[in-house]
């Protein structure tokens, strides 16, 4: 079975995010970028499937500028077999990404598509669901455990009330939650081997996908700064303030 994993290049989780001075977005110039952590979990799960003899080939897909090749290369160093870079400087919204993935799935015919449940930059949490709808495949989102059978997959999902276990028939779309696994390191020999693995480059137009944004961003602002606290002299003062000012009791 072929597994397709989507890997997004995002601002590194360790970077303190800054809003651009013209409020049009977040500063990404000279900022460290990494693979979206949920996508890393996706790659790890795919590699484990391959190691268990359940997957035969892992294809890692990323979309965006040329630098996304590095994100694919990281996936290859972790154990993916080949990459597809959808090269574009356009802003890609979840629907556009899902449409591109749909075309790639039509072409590649994977038995399973794994995505992160969301990317840590825009936190949309939409692409996997949209892709499943476009493909008319079952979806198993927020997966914390995957047991892959021959024609179906048993997936444990993290939901508000606890854990839910579902069975989906294959092919299916899976999105990863944090506790699915702990991604491995890319060892140095594997980093060197990854240099020799193939990465195909395609552009969205050649796939017949119109990536024009359907939503427009009006403004991006920094979160409001936390106000300074106050000291109260007595418990009675505290209770009064909690009642009248904070209105929490």
């Amino acid at each position: 079975m072929k597994v397709l994993v989507a890997v997004k290049r995002v601002v590194d989780y360790n970077v303190k995010i800054r809003v651009k001075s013209d409020n049009t977005g977040v500063e990404t110039a000279n900022v460290k970028m990494s693979m979206n952590p949920f996508d890393e979990i996706g790659v790890e799960e795919a590699v484990r499937l391959k190691e268990a003899g359940k997957a035969t080939e892992i294809v890692a897909v990323s979309m965006g500028p040329q630098a996304c090749q590095e994100t694919i290369r990281t996936a290859l160093a972790m154990g993916a077999d080949r990459g597809i870079l959808v090269l574009t400087d356009a802003e890609l919204q979840p629907l556009a990404v899902a449409k591109i993935l749909k075309v790639l799935c039509d072409k590649e015919q994977p038995g399973l598509v794994i995505l992160g449940k969301q990317a840590i930059d825009d936190d949309c949490n939409q692409t996997g669901q949209m892709l499943a709808a476009l493909l008319d495949w079952p979806q198993a989102t927020f997966a914390s455990k995957l047991e892959l059978g021959v024609s179906d997959a048993r997936v444990t999902r993290e939901i508000d009330g606890g854990l839910e276990t579902i069975t989906v028939t294959l092919p299916a779309v899976l999105t990863t939650d944090l506790r699915l696994n702990e991604p491995r390191y890319a060892s140095l020999p594997n980093i060197m081997k990854a240099k020799k693995k193939p990465i195909d480059t395609v552009d969205p137009a050649s796939l017949g996908v119109d990536v024009a944004p359907r939503l427009s961003t009006l403004k991006v602002n920094e979160p409001a700064k936390r106000q300074a606290g106050v000291k109260v002299a007595t418990v009675a003062d505290l209770v009064a303030k909690l009642k009248t000012e904070a209105k929490v009791i």
Binding site: N14, V15, K16, N30, K32, S34, E70, R73, T74, A77, Y185, A186, S187, L188, P189, N190, I191, M192, K195
Partner: protein, 399 residues
Amino acid sequence: MRTGTIREPQQRQSATPYRPAEPMALPEELRMLRDQVRRFVETEVTPNGLEWERTGLIPRAVFRKMGALGFLGMRHPIEYGGTDLGPLASMVFAEELGRSTFGGFTASVLVHTDMSAVHITRDGSPAQKARHLPPIIRGETICAIAVTEAHAGSDVAGLKTRAVRDGAGWVLRGSKMFITNAVHGDLIIVAARTDPEAKGSRGISLFLVDRHAPGVSVTALEKHGWLCSDTAEIVFDDVRLPADALLGEENRGFYGIMDTFQNERICVGGICAGETAKAIEVTLDYVKTRQAFGGTLWDQPVVRHKLASLACKAAAARQLAYQAATLAAEGRECIREVSMVKALAPEVLHEVVHGCLQLHGGTGFMRGTVIERMARDARILTIGGGATEVMLEEVAKRM
């Protein structure tokens, strides 16, 4: 015996990571290597380093983990399990280890990877390489390099340890001083005089010596810093060595030592780059939260300009080190540039760690704060691997 207690410092993730810009044209695989080493340091080293400082021991499991990730083989041939990357990889590796804030850990690992075992790759016979390199690269055999003696440090040509022919083999007699990894290591590469008639640098050979061979004894030394790494005086009391203990050509060891020093000095440039950036990061965290005079310390121009000034100097020294590493990677003549790195970067590091300690106020003087340890650990770097004074002479000779 160490006195006083070492308290747990804050080991949280920094709120304001300070990372100098990635050098231009760094190959993709080295940027990926950097990410992997950084993750290893943050998850395996920083949380455990204090325990290693207490015990004076870095667990073998840590070396084996690094071996499994390929970190210990980057300067060795692919056929023995290495990746055969050049000095630029060592620079990146040293820089990320330097960010651990545990100078002893950094030193212990780099002595193994870049200062000792590289002699086997440089000068070893195919049989020596096949025997020794695989376990070295896996982190199972830990190496030390023994050149320095009590009366011969930067003056390598003055060393007195003797190796005398004895049948097919050799007998080793003498002692070595300040040897990193000598207590817990397995394989020591020893520089000894094989031709006492030859002048100075000629007549020195290198030998592979089993740390536990009969006649080898060590005395652990107490240090000012680098508490988690083991440093020892080694005595060789008529140690019998087999014929295949000789590493490289007889009487030609000096050249290998000088060549490997170049690599060691590039590593020191990397260590300083990592440690300066981390010291500045730790201090930014402190001054941006510490309240004084009605605001944070960062609100005081004198404080933030001081840190900015230190950041400028650290960035300049780092660039010089990357340039020297690049020249070395391209196989170009760079003894002057590498000597400049060794002469400058540790001096800048001193200025940075002491400037940062100053901004920590009394806190910085307390055992258990990160900056206090970093200041102690930094002290040796202007001395080891060629003292600043010796390095300046190397620069002057080439002016």
